[in-house]
């Protein structure tokens, strides 16, 4: 019994070992070919591939596409299948190693490109594609160089020409990739038989598809949209250093091992407390990254003191590049590093405008793709399958309204001078139109920025003295001029330093501190009250009222708008200047005494000149506050952006009504001699169906220069809904130049009373 039982155990073991051996035989002998292929493909980085998500579209609030990714026909090469006559990969590798400086490497690159230019491959391909030979040679060289420096694997496909014609692309695809693949399918990997197949005209060529950012409406809303670019090399290498790519992964593993070995046991135990894991046990960088990420700032300081300062730097994110989930996964364990061997995938990054501000939302989630064979063979877990389709985010909907933006652009572009227009909802701060003149075509910036024609276009934009890339509505600071009077008057009324009945005498000028301050054109306004002051823009009265209030008392009101960013969701917004004591102290050099504030300075501030500076969006916010009962709203350009609760200026309805009356008269009082500064602009070319209120401004900013022309206001005057501001750089008188632009914009939108335009889209809401 005893022995027979041992016999039974031996038998069972025999059966179990046979099963294990059988399985081994099945895997290694019966299914060898399949696994061999899978493993080859993995070596190529072919079985898992990073598929970049296309960048999300940008639309107007009505849903019209302003920018989107569209398919793009590319030509790529595989360096291992390339058959060149002269240049070899080894040569490039050797040259790279021999090069001592960056300059030398550049020189080498030029030499190689010059040689590649005369390769039969390049000459014939350039002919077929109608592509520039040097560009093509540059692409081939970059691909080979990437392999030489191990940024790409030998068998990876690398793009050398983008956006070729669809016909040529299809033709090439038929004779290259598919033909070759069919050969492989027929004959397996038998090299001799494959070479029997007709050699494709361009060995090594692969036809690939990519996406490209396209702005279908050209210059429309360009300053809002901004543009995209490829990551620059420093940015990309920053990402590589972050451990995303294998090359640096090895280097970091070595560095970490060295650091780890140097840790003393006390340091190690302190670190273990913080990490919850013994640092000397950590072999895996992904694990280390995750542990370090969890630390609080104060804990990070401790860790840095424990000799891990270098490692902490690894987890500091590059400033402009936040990694999304799938990129973070690359750092982790359990995922194939071959995925990381592929280059970064979608390298597009927002450079300006909403493309930059909402870069993270627009980028979407990249994903890893597995070969089809793997699904069938292994019943791949569903989570991988789900992620096969890269997830793009929903379109980014802007608050920009088609009709308003069109109207604003038409009006603004009718002027020669550079300038900007904003139309904004006074209650929620959503910007309906934002235009800057001159315009640029964002398509010009979409990579690739190579090729002679493209370079020329870019040079034109870069060298234009009118700086078309500047978004003048938020990125330019200008003297505000008389628009400032509206808030000065409102504050004076609120503080009881001015009553609506009080009158001033205006002889056209006023002396102060040995200086003479003029009204516009030295025009004497005679007896002036607050209404007439706003209507006719009397400087003499404003100076005196402004001096009564004073810069520091005006500050609590004015500084809610001026001297700070409005918080619009666009990059590069400027602060502007409100020149109160704080500002002067801040800008005074160390050791020098702060400039004294004189009554004359108050005079200047009251009419928005001197050191005072403002952006167009700030002027719009001011007018919105006048119109909506004294609330400072936060402007926004994304429809779904959270609305911040408006900040109240603390002005009573009584004071605001008086100012609003003045602003209304400025546009709508036409009595001869009492005429508002903007009456002519709005009432000589056909009446608008909407009543507008506003304030002109002619802002002197430099002695002898033509002043900036402004007109800012709101409409409908009786029941305000929208605020706007128009600014034209060095264009002349506000009422004569900026007023007509605003009129033109409103006429574009509403039509005139005699020929009204049907505008229901926004006005009806």
């Amino acid at each position: 019994m005893f022995k027979s039982r041992i016999g039974i155990v031996a038998l069972i073991l025999g059966v179990l070992f046979s099963i294990a051996g059988g399985r081994l035989f099945q895997l290694q002998v019966i299914r060898y070919d399949k696994y061999r292929q899978l493993s080859e493909r993995d070596k190529d980085g072919g079985s898992q591939k990073l598929i970049p998500a296309s960048r999300a579209a940008i639309t107007t609030r009505e849903g019209d596409i302003l920018g989107e990714d569209r398919p793009f026909f590319d030509i790529s090469i595989r360096v291992d299948r390339l058959k060149l006559e002269g240049v070899t990969l080894d040569e490039i590798k050797r040259a790279r190693e021999a090069a001592k400086s960056l300059d030398e490497r550049k020189r080498q690159a030029e030499q190689f490109i010059a040689r590649l230019k005369d390769e039969r491959f390049v000459i014939r391909l350039a002919d077929a594609l109608k592509y520039d030979r040097i560009d093509l040679a540059h692409g081939v060289f970059t691909a080979m160089d990437n392999v030489a420096r191990k940024w790409a694997s030998l068998s990876s496909t690398q793009t050398i020409a983008q956006g070729v014609g669809e016909d040529v692309w299809l033709q090439l695809k038929a004779t290259h990739e598919d033909g070759f693949h069919n050969g492989v399918l027929l004959y397996g990997r038998d090299a001799a038989k494959i070479s029997d197949l007709t050699e494709p005209p361009f060995p090594g060529l692969v036809c690939t598809l990519s996406t490209r950012r396209v702005y279908p409406r050209g210059t429309f809303a360009c300053s809002v949209l901004g543009c995209v670019n490829d990551m620059t090399e420093p940015e990309e290498s920053q990402l590589r250093q972050y451990g995303v790519l294998l090359e640096s992964f090895d280097a970091r593993t070595k560095a970490w091992t060295a650091t780890r070995d140097k840790l003393t046991s006390t340091q190690a135990s302190t670190l273990a407390e913080l990490f919850g894991d013994d640092p000397r046990e950590i072999d895996d960088l992904g694990h280390l990254y995750r542990l370090m990420m969890k630390l609080r700032p104060d804990e990070r300081e401790t860790v840095a003191r424990m000799g891990m300062a270098e490692q902490l730097k690894w987890i500091q994110r590059p400033p402009r590049l936040k990694l999304n989930d799938s990129e973070m996964l690359w750092l982790g364990v359990g995922l194939p590093m071959s995925a990381a061997r592929n280059s970064l995938g979608n390298r597009t990054i927002g450079e300006m405008g909403v493309e930059r501000f909402y870069n993270e939302q627009l980028r979407g989630k990249h994903t890893l793709r597995f070969s089809e064979a793997e699904y069938h063979d292994f019943s791949m877990p569903v989570s991988y399958q789900n992620e096969v389709e890269p997830r793009s985010e929903k379109p980014l909907v802007l608050t920009i309204s088609n009709a308003w933006q069109e109207a604003a652009e038409v009006a603004l572009q009718s002027q020669e001078r550079p300038g900007g227009i904003i139309v904004m909802d006074i209650n929620d701060g959503s910007v309906l139109a934002m235009a800057s003149n001159p315009v640029f075509d964002p398509n010009v910036f979409t990579p690739p920025r190579t090729g002679a024609k493209r370079q020329e276009q870019l040079a034109v934009l870069a060298n234009d003295p009118n700086k078309p890339l500047l978004n003048r509505t938020i990125d330019g600071e200008y003297a505000l001029g008389s628009i400032m009077k509206s808030i000065v008057m409102a504050v004076a009324l609120e503080r009881g330093q001015l009553t609506p009945d009080e009158t001033f005498q205006c002889p056209g000028f006023i002396k102060e501190g040995g200086q003479i301050f003029h009204c516009d054109g030295n025009h004497a306004h005679g007896t002036v009250n607050v209404y007439k002051c706003l209507r006719c823009s009397c400087n003499v009265m404003s100076h005196q009222v402004g001096a009564r209030v004073g810069v520091e008392n005006l500050g609590p009101f004015a500084k809610l708008i001026f001297g700070k960013k409005t918080g619009i969701d666009l990059p590069f917004e400027k602060n502007g200047i409100y020149p109160d004591r704080d500002y002067r102290i801040k800008t005074t050099q160390q050791g020098k005494s702060v400039r004294p504030w004189t009554r004359g300075n108050d005079f200047q501030l009251a009419i928005g000149q001197g050191e005072m500076n403002s952006t167009v969006i700030q002027a719009t916010v001011l007018m919105a506050a006048m119109a909506n009962g004294g609330n400072v709203v936060t402007p926004r350009i994304r429809l779904e952006a959270p609305t911040n609760a408006p900040v109240s200026l603390g002005l009573s309805a009584r004071s605001l009504n008086i100012v609003r009356q003045g602003l209304d008269e400025c546009v709508n009082t036409g009595t001869p001699g009492e005429r508002g500064t903007c009456y002519t602009a709005f009432h000589s070319n056909g009446e608008l169906p909407v009543r507008v209120a506003g304030k002109t401004s002619t802002a002197e900013h430099k002695k002898g220069a033509v002043p900036h022309a402004w007109f800012a206001g709101y409409f409908p005057a009786e029941n305000p809904r929208y605020a706007f501001a128009v600014m034209l750089e060095e264009a002349g008188h506000g009422g004569a130049v900026a007023g007509p632009v605003a009129y033109k914009m409103l006429r574009e939108f509403y039509g005139t009373k005699t020929s009204p335009k049907a505008q229901t889209a926004v006005a009806g809401n």
Binding site: M1, F2, K3, R5, I6, G7, I8, V9, A10, L13, G14, L16, F17, I19, A20, G21, R23, L24, F25, L27, Q28, V29, R31, Y32, K34, Y35, R36, L38, S39, E40, D42, K43, D250, T253, K254, W256, T257, S265, S269, A272, G276, D277, D278, E281, D283, V333, G334, L335, P336, M337, S338, E374, F378, S379, M380, P381, V382, S383
Partner: protein
């Protein structure tokens, strides 16, 4: 003390009856281990050579311990079974008060060496069971089975709690086989198996750590599995399959397989050495197991038999579980391949088991018990 048990007249046989086949096959396995650990660790920090050297050193230490154990009669060791058992339970409890490494309470950090009490628990448990079972026949009743199971369950639960599912799983068959060989009734054992399986299922839904559940879920239901646990097996399967009949050659493994020098070393052997080497490895293990069973069959002393059977079973169950994991036949458990995986505790633990086995084989004990257990 030991002499009281040494009933064999000293003049009869001076040379120990060493099972040469067993030693040769295990020696070859250890040699393969050093070669393939060096190859598998080549991309790890420190380089493959350092891992290979360390592994060779562990083999050396293992051999020293092996020789030391041969100096003692196994019956002497057996006498201390209660003390050893108490000691290992204390060590297993004590490990929970140490700092966790990789999130588990599996190791004592002795600075120069990481000591894994669960490796030591294997021989101690086998000895304890043998000690308990040797002169009894209470296990022939269902009630009598309770005591040995409780004895075994205490350390197993502690190991499970570490958490080290693989270690606990590999040991479960040992209890069954030892009781079976001792002569327990088959239907009793079947009943216990059923109870154990039920307990496992209950535990699965109640106490098991989420990552353990994930691994099992991944294996049972890859289509709905949400985590990457199946990924590792996928990689190792591809690696093994792509090795083919003759392998890719040393250092040619293309897969980036996690834990490839420890738990997944078999995949490296199969990929680089091909079916020839991996098959040879399995065959060597099987030959060693059969010679081990031969020792058990030749030993008439009941405790020796049981220890020998226990040692063979734990060895085989570890090998089978580990290789089947790498070949995608069962879920990932995190179990080392004895004598092959990189690691001191595993290597030394394996050598202790081997030493016990050889010890029993070389000390032909005078029969102290009835001819048979039945």
């Amino acid at each position: 003390m030991a002499d009281t048990f040494r009933a064999q007249p000293s003049s009869v046989i001076r040379l120990p009856h060493v099972d040469v086949i067993l030693l040769i096959s295990v020696g070859l396995v250890a040699l393969l281990s050093i070669i393939y650990v060096t190859s598998a660790a080549q991309n790890l920090p420190g380089g493959g050579a350092s891992y290979g050297t360390k592994q060779a050193a562990y083999v050396g230490i293992g051999l020293l311990i092996f020789v030391a154990i041969q100096r003692v009669h196994y019956m002497t060791i057996l006498r201390f079974a209660p003390q050893l058992y108490a000691g290992i339970v204390a060590l297993l409890i004590g490990v929970f008060f140490t700092r966790p490494i990789k999130g588990a309470h599996c190791w004592y950090d002795l600075y120069f060496f990481k000591f894994e009490p669960s490796e030591l628990a294997k021989p101690v448990l086998i000895i304890t069971l043998a000690y308990y079972l040797m002169y009894r026949d209470s296990y022939k009743t269902l009630k009598g089975l309770i005591a040995p199971f409780v004895l075994a369950t205490i350390p197993l639960l502690l190991i499970l709690k570490q958490p080290y599912l693989g270690g606990a799983m590999a040991f479960a068959p040992v209890i069954l086989v030892m009781l079976f060989v001792a002569g327990a009734k088959l239907w009793h054992l079947a009943l216990t198996c059923f109870a154990g399986a039920s307990a496992f299922i209950v535990m699965f839904f109640t106490t098991m750590r989420s990552f353990q559940q994930d691994r099992i879920n991944a294996w049972l239901n890859p289509q709905q599995h949400q985590h990457g646990a199946a990924w590792q097996q996928l990689l190792s399967q591809t690696a093994i399959g792509s090795g083919g009949l003759f392998g890719k050659g040393l250092g040619q493994a293309s897969q980036n397989l996690p834990e490839k020098h420890t738990d997944f070393i078999f995949a490296v052997v199969a990929e680089e050495g091909g079916f020839i080497t991996a098959g040879l490895l399995l065959a060597l293990v099987f030959i060693a197991a059969i010679s081990g069973l031969g020792i058990a069959a030749r030993t008439r002393e009941p405790a020796g038999r049981l220890i020998a059977v226990g040692c063979v079973t734990i060895f085989c169950s570890q090998v089978l579980i580990n290789t089947c994991v790498t070949m995608g036949l069962i879920p990932t458990t995190g179990l080392t391949l004895p004598f092959v995986s990189y690691g001191g505790s595993s290597m030394i633990g394996s050598f202790i088991l081997l030493a016990l086995l050889v010890n029993i084989g070389s000390k032909r004990e005078v029969v102290l018990a009835k001819e048979d257990f039945s």
